[in-house]
Amino acid sequence: MAERSFKSEVKKLHAGEGELFHGEGILAVTKALLQSGVSYVGGYQGSPISHLMDVLADAREEILDDMGIHFETSASEATAAAMLSASVHYPLRGAVTWKSTVGTNVASDALANLASGGVTGGAVIIIGEDYGEGSSIMQERTHAFAMKSHIWLLDPRPNLPSIVDMVEKSFELSEASHTPVMLQMRIRACHVHGQFVARDNRKAEFSLQDALQNPKRDLSRVVLPPATFLHEREKIEARLPAAIEFIKAQELNEFFPGSREDVGIILQGGSYNTVIRALEHLGQADAYGQSQISLYVMNVAFPLIDDELLRFAQGKSAVLLVEEGNPEFIEHELHTLFARAGCKTQLQGKAVLPRVGEYTTDVVKAGIRNFLQAQTTDLLQHETALSFVPARSLSVETLTDVVPARPAGFCTGCPERPIFSAIKLLQKERGDFHISCDIGCHLFSILPPFNLGATTMGYGLGSASASAFNVSSDKPAISIMGDGGFWHNGLTSGVGNAVFNKSDGVNLIIDNAYTAATGGQDILSSRATNTNLATNNPISRAVEGVGVKWVRTLTRTYDVTAMLKTLREAVSTKGQGPKVIVAQSECMLNLQRREKRSKRADLKAGKRVSEARFAIDEQTCTGDRACIRLSGCPSLTVKENPDPWRSDPVTRIDNSCVGCGLCGENVHADILCPSFVRVEVVRNAGRWETFRRRLSQSVIRRLQKRAQRRHEIYQLDGAA
């Protein structure tokens, strides 16, 4: 079950014509899909569209099943893209979603094939464009994929009515031009809370069952020569003109005329709110978006509509293009367009705006100001400093050395942390290893305090990225993969590859029973039962199935000593092919959520409930913090040394400790200090337990009093 439940929110999806719908961007997209009459939906979770998958999963019983919509959690983005092939021959509308560009990279094989043959039913890909602040991936543009495969790219204005409208239009565009369509949602748009007026949900007239009963095939749609040559011609000669025709007729792009005739701004829909705010700061627009400067808003970022652009540029001496990201594909195309058409309007884009990075209000404001100063004779001419930009005082500069970076890290009690503690201990014994990492929570190992891992090449590719080091060495490469990446492709690309090529490397597979990094969704090897999905398929059996001989499954990652022992054995075993260690413990976030609920119920029912957490004896802690360097747990923190004679802070465990036990295990495995104590509190204790406690306490108290007498001689009025 996913980390966040949308069970109550999905009830809103029943909203009918005219009802006001409040909610997050992704919830609005789901509603728009229902209003569009989709027959199937798929995808792979990942920020910023993880919640879209969660909403869909939670909506399944609430509404999708009733509407005859098939939803599935695809094994990978490639699976999701291939799913769209249902729309090739049949008038079925389908949508898939993923995080981009990483997901698009994975999906690109299927996407290119889909785009070549074209589609009959509307095929839409909701793209979570993970770019700019908050992004967790390489900074690239999905735009390149749209251009190379000829998939139309919509980039709607980031308000819910526009987004919902564009989702609906994207299906129509796809059908009108027999081309798949991508709809791009930026990070903030995915999470934006707003409202829109709903329309009725629409059930598809042609169902998946209809297709199966009346199967169709058309050789000209299959990607195989000579049809492929036909497809290329069709893209340019038939589908593109049809798309342009539709976009123009439906006015998908918007003209916002201003009072100025001489200059204008061309922008992608996604940047609209930012541009308006920048213009407002510069005194060129009001709070309602009424701008003095004319705007041409491209809710369709690809293809460009030549005559609309030329019409906008006509009569203007200069236009500014606000195009986020690089390379600046639109700017290049616009230059070509203007040159070919003999348009003399000056085009400025990256000349006044930065070539890289997110276009925030501050950035866009500076660009527009420079543009207007240069291209007009009257606007902002005397502006020496930007309004709204505060002078940074000296004291702000001093904060540079004060405010610490706060990189993401493992959660409190995370079962992955002890695995890296063990690797750190292994390295203390044997020196450093080459470690190749993967995508997932476990990638936090590359950060302090672990500092483990040299590369991360893509989801599920941890093992594959160590494949070059398939040479004899007393220090074999160690590769790490999560269960999410393993099922995404790591089983074949990594483990199968290592078996086939007789690699001697060590493959550590971290099995926390969920794709934890994307929000705790279930996967094939999840231990929970899920009525809609087939879980409980062990990773160990899968790797044995592809021929791994040396497999060790550890069912409690917190046992650092056992983990260390297994690692030692793995790195020193030779000639048995790849060594696979499956390290299993449930994601602590999910475990806690489950346990809290059941403990509350038990407590109410009067059953015995015990809760444990760790604490530290501040009198024995000497403030070296070797424990923190081996753990990094958020609940393991510091405080001022209570002993005024010592200056270094002591370790402290705060109330967020969930008692996972790692601190104790580390004390034993690395021979740390004796300051750690586990405190277990029992509620609703039984009679026997209470009696035993009273008995032992009476003896302990007597002994403590006896010892106290010794201290009394000098503790009279003592300072400490």
């Binding site: 705010r277 505060p390 000497t622 360097r629 004390v667 400490a720």
Partner: protein
């Protein structure tokens, strides 16, 4: 003052995972929408969904006559510098970060921040003290914010058994920066429907505190140095020893030495306290002579009183067992987890004594013999060493630790004591010699034992740095920049466990040979053994 009649309010909330930033944003939006305002919120969680910081950004737009359906405001999805009315930081350094990003400006921004700290990994993992300076944030905030409201909201939340977001929401109300009434705020919490009573209590507490305290909290005054120890008991020996302090030492030194005596009594006994004072007497005499020029009186002795005291009160098995069985410690643990002594609970102590620690508890001769004799060592190891979990609320666990603590009077015959006293004497000897030759260098040497911290391997690592730098001090004696070099070496020693920075620093002064390579797994026992041989030879 912020004008309450303005059209749009821009709000940035910075919070870490689990602090309820999302809930706070929802309350504010709910409150605004209930009043028919246009409200928009968005967030950038990204990988910060785990433990990083998340920024929530909200815009609230007052409905204007004539808006109807035709005009809707265009609201921004991200904060722009100079365009934020209210910044809410759920942690102090996040307030600092908001200021760095230009969200806080003197002409309009109210900054509400909780003064508590959630330390970053970089602050926590350091071997020395790397805690960021909160005062810098307070100083900047006082300068950059139109109004700065800062108090410990986490503590307040804990008192109310709620989370920091509810206190922040109260502080927003208390700051009177938004044009909504108390009822509107409370209604928003009620609509949320989860933990309403606790949230309302925390809200009220936050509001009251913010109203009362619209100025920054006074920076925390560091606790004054130990006052010394005023003994009022009747024990003749102790009184005599304290009289000696009054007679023989400068008044500025006396509180330190009194406290030292208390520590020795707590650690061992009066005889041991006497030894501490004797050692200090020798040192102070030399100090007074060397420092005849008379800068700060007895600078070196002041440092040494502390480092010698800490070293002499070393943590051996007896000391640890003593601390772990004390009633005050039990009380502190009950208090920490919020229970009383009568509630059923269990303490599990995690310890890992090695053969060395076990042998060190034995009488010196016997201990050395055990370490030399393979079969005896093996036997002791099997019996007492290795990873241990002890239940100190169970009779068996408590009594065994209690008995170890009772060995205290015999401590002075133990191998550990022999080793420590030999090392202390060697250090004091070097200190005395250095003091006479180079006073500044002497003060550095006096502070050197600060490097020796922790237990078993951690302590060995500290001792290794200590030995290397002590040797460096001997080698550098006579150089005018010796004390400065020594200070740098000490800093370098605290940069990493492996000591590579210290090694590099030593090499820069052609002293690389003084650095003992870290004993590998195989050599570890040999390395330890040499320490015992050393101790024996002296």
């Amino acid at each position: 003052m912020t004008t309450l009649d303005k059209q749009r309010f821009n709000i940035a909330i910075t919070a870490m995972g689990g602090q309820g930033g999302g809930v706070l944003a929802d309350w504010i939006v709910g409150m605004a929408e209930a009043a028919n305002w246009h409200a928009q919120t968005t967030s950038v969680p990204g990988v910060a969904q785990r433990t990083g910081a998340t920024i929530y950004y909200l815009e609230l737009f007052r409905p204007q006559p004539g808006d109807a359906d035709t005009r809707r405001p265009v609201l921004s999805l991200s904060p722009a510098s100079g365009d934020v009315d209210l910044v809410v930081a759920a942690e102090l350094m996040e307030a600092g970060r908001a200021m760095q990003r230009g969200f806080v400006t003197p002409d309009r921004t109210t900054l509400i921040a909780s003064s508590h700290r959630a330390y970053a990994v970089a602050e926590k993992e350091s071997m020395g003290n790397a805690i960021a300076d909160s005062d810098s944030v307070h100083v900047t905030a006082a300068e950059m914010a139109q109004r700065y409201i800062c108090f410990d909201m986490a503590a307040l939340a804990e008192q109310c058994r709620s989370v920091v977001s509810a206190v922040l929401f109260g502080a927003i109300h208390g700051s009177a920066v938004l044009p909504f009434g108390r009822e509107d705020f409370e209604q928003a919490i009620r609509r949320g429907g989860v933990g309403v009573d606790a949230s309302l209590a925390a809200f009220a507490a936050g509001a009251a505190q913010a109203e009362a305290n619209r100025k920054p909290e006074n920076p925390v005054v560091p606790s004054p140095p130990a006052e010394g120890w005023h003994y009022r008991g009747q024990d003749g020996g102790i009184r005599q020893l304290l009289a000696t302090i009054e007679r023989d030492f400068a008044p500025t030194l006396q509180p330190l030495l009194q406290e030292g005596v208390r520590r020795m009594l707590d650690h061992s006994d009066l005889r041991y306290a006497g030894r501490y004072i004797q050692r200090m007497q020798r040192l102070e005499a030399l100090d007074a002579e060397a420092d005849a020029g008379g800068e700060a009186v007895g600078r070196c002795s002041t440092v040494a009183a502390r480092t010698l005291g800490l070293w002499m009160a070393y943590e051996d098995t007896i000391r640890v067992a003593d601390i772990k069985t004390r009633s005050q410690r039990f009380e502190r643990l009950y208090d920490e987890v919020g229970i009383d002594a009568d509630q059923v609970s269990h303490f599990t102590e995690f310890m890992h004594p090695r053969l060395e620690e076990v042998a060190e508890t034995l009488p010196a001769g016997l201990g050395r013999w055990v370490l030399r004799t393979r079969w005896a060592g093996r036997l002791l190891e099997v019996l007492f060493a290795g990873p241990k979990k002890l239940s100190t609320q169970g009779l068996c666990g408590f009594v065994s630790l209690y008995l170890v603590a009772q060995l205290r009077p015999l401590r002075r015959f133990s191998l550990r004591d022999a080793i420590e006293q030999t090392q202390i004497d060697a250090w004091l000897e070097q200190l005395e010699r250095t003091l006479v030759a180079d006073y500044d260098l002497g003060c550095e040497v006096a502070a050197l034992p600060e490097l020796i911290k922790g237990y078993s391997k951690t302590r060995e690592r500290g001792l290794r740095s200590f030995r290397a730098i002590s040797a460096a001090a001997r080698a550098l004696s006579g150089r005018s920049d010796a004390s400065e070099i020594l200070r740098n070496l000490k800093t370098a020693a605290l940069l990493s466990e492996e000591g590579s920075e210290l090694e590099a620093a030593l090499q820069r002064h052609q002293l690389g040979h003084l650095f003992e390579p870290l004993p590998g797994k195989q050599q570890a026992s040999a390395g330890c053994a040499s320490q015992y041989v050393d101790a024996a030879a002296r």
